[in-house]
């Protein structure tokens, strides 16, 4: 690695490096909704007072606020995980037409291998669909460098620029050279109806302009140093981008490389020239055959990975298999399943729903873990907000014993419109909001119903009960989820009524509230060894080698759910507490 003298190095993740780079580039407004692996970008930016950073209600809102800030004259940034960009697709598509004011960068973090997502989509395809340029860094250092170039490209070509990250860049740390911020002059907003009002006549003209812009961007892609040839042995060449470049470099350091930092618009001439220079050309990329198709549609011959490699994360040791044209070999042994924290409120709610033999339409968050064995009490999970709308669809199809569940952050993100739809279309039944007062799965970020901003400042708190009533719920109950008897009785009661009921099961996330009560007492003489208590899947309770029940005092929070579950009085509440 070569850097100018006087550089200070920090050990930064890809997300942190990208945020640092955006800060140094004079970023003024940054918006996002948290989502793994993207969340740390805004968390890192929030430390800089020169940047107005926010958690937005959802990705569509985040995108629009950031785009508008750019149009109004300051450098802005949007960040989300790959599926978050789906939510922001509507403004993304038309922002390619309007263009920008000051630089506007769209950061999308893909999750190859589906470590923490609901699908494995490849953001690169979106760049082509939206007709906006795409940068693909390979490492944290490049994330920092590329984001700065992305702002320049955005301004030079009057377009949003997508920077595509992946888990192995976002969550990899390395030595990153840290510099100083350069302020950018605010570009004065000038009324320009033909540019910013996308009515049919204007949009049609803008589409013509966009096609011309893409030709100019392609010419730029041919000459930019983002797309560079690294000469090596002539017998073997790789055309590659992102982390795939590093894996190929790791395994075949002597080979020739065409490393694409800007993979859309595709640098056709550069690729053709490179292909001529090497005897065997391989295209290596993670997930979709994006580069492969760019080559094949232009008749540039290259060997590509076996289609089995379109699924899952690429790993360095896969390279020899790819070069040999073989399908993917055996995968790594399955990792240990995740589990809800000890004392988590969701466990209590799912226990009640399991007992009531409910069909549960679910949503995205820690509570999605309710689907795993042995609880198995969450039965659908597709996307943010679908816990509410799937509930309606199930009801419309005639299912009776069904409830919807959704987390507090997810409800604010995209559950509210679903609830309005339920009320508007006269749906009856029970919707449960699992309210742990945070966005837990992605790292405990606040949201409107918490009453704190990204920077931790108090703000107007959204009242979930009032919102639900205003949306048209007939009644809203707030319950203590640990009082499982009352919860069960209330769900039964509400299920029988001809009403649209919302139950808010509210208690603090155990990652935020570490308070503990005395741990339950196990009475050996009462235990029938039915192990029903193990069915709640609590990390604090286990069966010993002798077949006894043991509670781990270091882990147990004293929630007493196991006491409720035990039918024989073998687990008792510790009355000393």
């Amino acid at each position: 690695m070569e850097h100018a003298a006087g550089d200070r190095f920090e050990f930064l993740s890809g997300n942190e490096a990208l945020a640092q780079g955006a800060y140094e580039a004079g970023l003024k407004v940054a918006c996002a909704y948290p989502g793994t692996p993207s969340s740390e970008i805004l968390e890192f930016l929030s430390r800089f007072k020169e940047v107005d950073s926010q958690w937005s209600v959802n990705e569509k809102v985040a995108f629009e606020v950031a785009l508008a800030a750019s149009i109004a004259g300051v450098r802005s940034l949007y960040a989300s995980k790959q599926v978050g960009l789906n939510v922001a697709m509507d403004p993304l598509m038309t922002s390619a037409y309007t263009g920008v004011g000051a630089g506007f960068v769209v950061v999308s973090c893909d999750d190859p291998g589906i470590h923490s997502s609901q699908n494995e989509q490849d953001t690169r395809l979106f760049a082509k669909v939206a007709k906006v340029p795409l940068l693909e860094p390979s490492s944290p250092s490049e994330a920092k460098e590329f984001i700065q170039q992305a702002f320049q490209i955005s301004e030079a070509f009057d377009t949003p620029v997508i920077v595509r990250m992946t888990t192995r860049i976002s969550h990899t740390k390395e030595n990153v050279a840290v510099g100083h911020r350069t302020e950018c002059a605010v570009k004065e907003f000038k009324t320009d109806i033909a540019k910013y009002v996308m009515v049919p006549r204007n949009a049609y003209r803008k589409h013509i302009e966009l096609e011309k812009k893409l030709i100019k961007l392609q010419a730029f892609s041919e000459k930019t140093s983002l797309n560079k040839v690294e000469p090596g042995t002539k017998s073997l060449g790789f055309l590659t981008a992102g982390v795939a470049y590093l894996y190929a470099k790791e395994m075949y350091p002597q080979a020739s490389f065409l490393k694409l930092g800007m993979s859309f618009p595709f640098p056709e001439k550069k690729a053709r020239g490179f292909a001529k220079k090497v005897k065997r050309l391989f295209v290596v990329e993670e997930l979709e055959p994006f580069l492969e198709e760019q080559l094949s549609m232009r008749g540039i011959r290259a060997k590509a990975k076996h289609p089995s490699f379109r699924v899952g994360e690429l790993r360095p040791e896969f390279l020899p298999q790819i070069v040999a044209g073989r399908p993917k070999g055996k995968e790594l042994p399955a990792s240990r399943k995740p589990v809800m924290c000890p004392g988590c409120l969701h466990r209590s709610v799912f226990w009640v729903l399991k007992k009531l033999k409910m069909t549960v339409t679910g949503d995205i968050g820690c509570y999605t873990l309710g689907a795993l064995s042995p609880l198995e009490s969450l039965h659908t999970c597709v996307c943010m907000g679908a816990g509410v709308t799937f509930f309606e669809g199930f009801r419309r199809a005639g299912l009776k014993n069904v409830v919807g569940v959704i987390g507090d952050s997810t409800f604010v993100h995209s559950g509210i419109t679903g609830l309005v739809n339920l009320a508007y279309n006269k749906t009856k039944g029970v919707l449960i909001i699992l309210d742990n007062g945070t966005t837990a799965m992605t790292g405990s970020q606040p949201h409107p119903a918490v009453g704190l901003t990204l920077g931790g400042e108090p703000t107007r708190q959204l009242d979930l009960k009032e919102v639900c009533l205003a949306c048209g719920a007939d009644n809203v109950d707030i319950i203590d989820p640990y009082d499982v008897r009352r919860a069960e009785a209330l769900i039964r009661e509400r299920m029988q009524q001809d009403a649209l009921s919302v139950i808010i099961a509210r208690s603090a996330c155990r990652l935020l509230d570490r308070a503990r009560a005395a741990i339950p007492v196990w009475r050996k003489e009462n235990c029938k060894k039915c192990y029903l208590c193990l069915g709640i899947d609590c990390p604090a309770i286990r069966k010993t080698e002798e077949g006894l029940v043991a509670i781990d005092s270091a882990v147990c929070t004293g929630c007493n759910l196991c006491v409720e579950v035990c039918a024989f009085g073998a687990l008792l509440k510790n009355e000393e507490s």
């Binding site: 390395e174 030595n175 995740p338 873990l369």
Partner: protein, 161 residues
């Protein structure tokens, strides 16, 4: 960057055992020593009590952040089943720390410091200076259990001498 063939260390365990923290300290110490360091892991759902692994590589120039299978010089596991799952990463005659893990469970009273004990045991095999390790511990545990972690680290480091 200083000249050194890449050193590959795989840390593994389960959520809450301090796998990521141990890897962070190791990365910081290697960076202080002037090496190019890469460290990779996954967050989010995987962290909820599930398997956690962190790959650390350092040397003159590191390409892939992931250690290729069969190339790890050291496998530091805080959980026996995770060692079983990932032992395929270890190279021939690579070093694992399973004896030290058993030792740690006896010597280290508070399970929160088992990670730094094993880190100490690992440190005895590496060329990084004690000063750099101490500085890395200071950065990683600023104001939070620094004394205890230092103690556990030195206990692990001396255990093998």
């Amino acid at each position: 960057m200083k000249n050194l063939e890449t050193v590959n260390i795989l840390f593994c365990g389960i959520g809450g055992q301090g796998v990521l923290k141990a890897a962070e300290v190791c990365g910081l110490a290697a960076m202080r020593q002037g090496y190019h360091v890469k460290k990779t892991e996954v967050h989010g759902m995987a962290q909820r009590g599930g398997s956690v692994e962190s790959h650390i590589r350092f040397g003159s120039r590191v390409w892939s952040a992931l250690i290729p299978q069969g190339k790890a010089d050291y496998l530091v596991s805080f959980y026996p089943q995770e060692y079983e799952r990932l032992k395929g990463f270890l190279k021939k005659r690579g070093i694992s720390f399973m004896e030290e893990l058993s030792q740690a469970r006896i010597l280290v009273k508070d399970p929160r410091y088992i990670n730094t004990f094993l880190l100490g045991a690992l440190s005895a095999h590496l060329s990084l200076t004690e000063d750099n390790w101490m500085a890395a511990l200071e950065t990683a545990f600023a104001g939070k259990g620094l004394q205890e972690n230092r103690h556990a680290f030195l206990l692990g480091r001396e255990g093998l001498k």
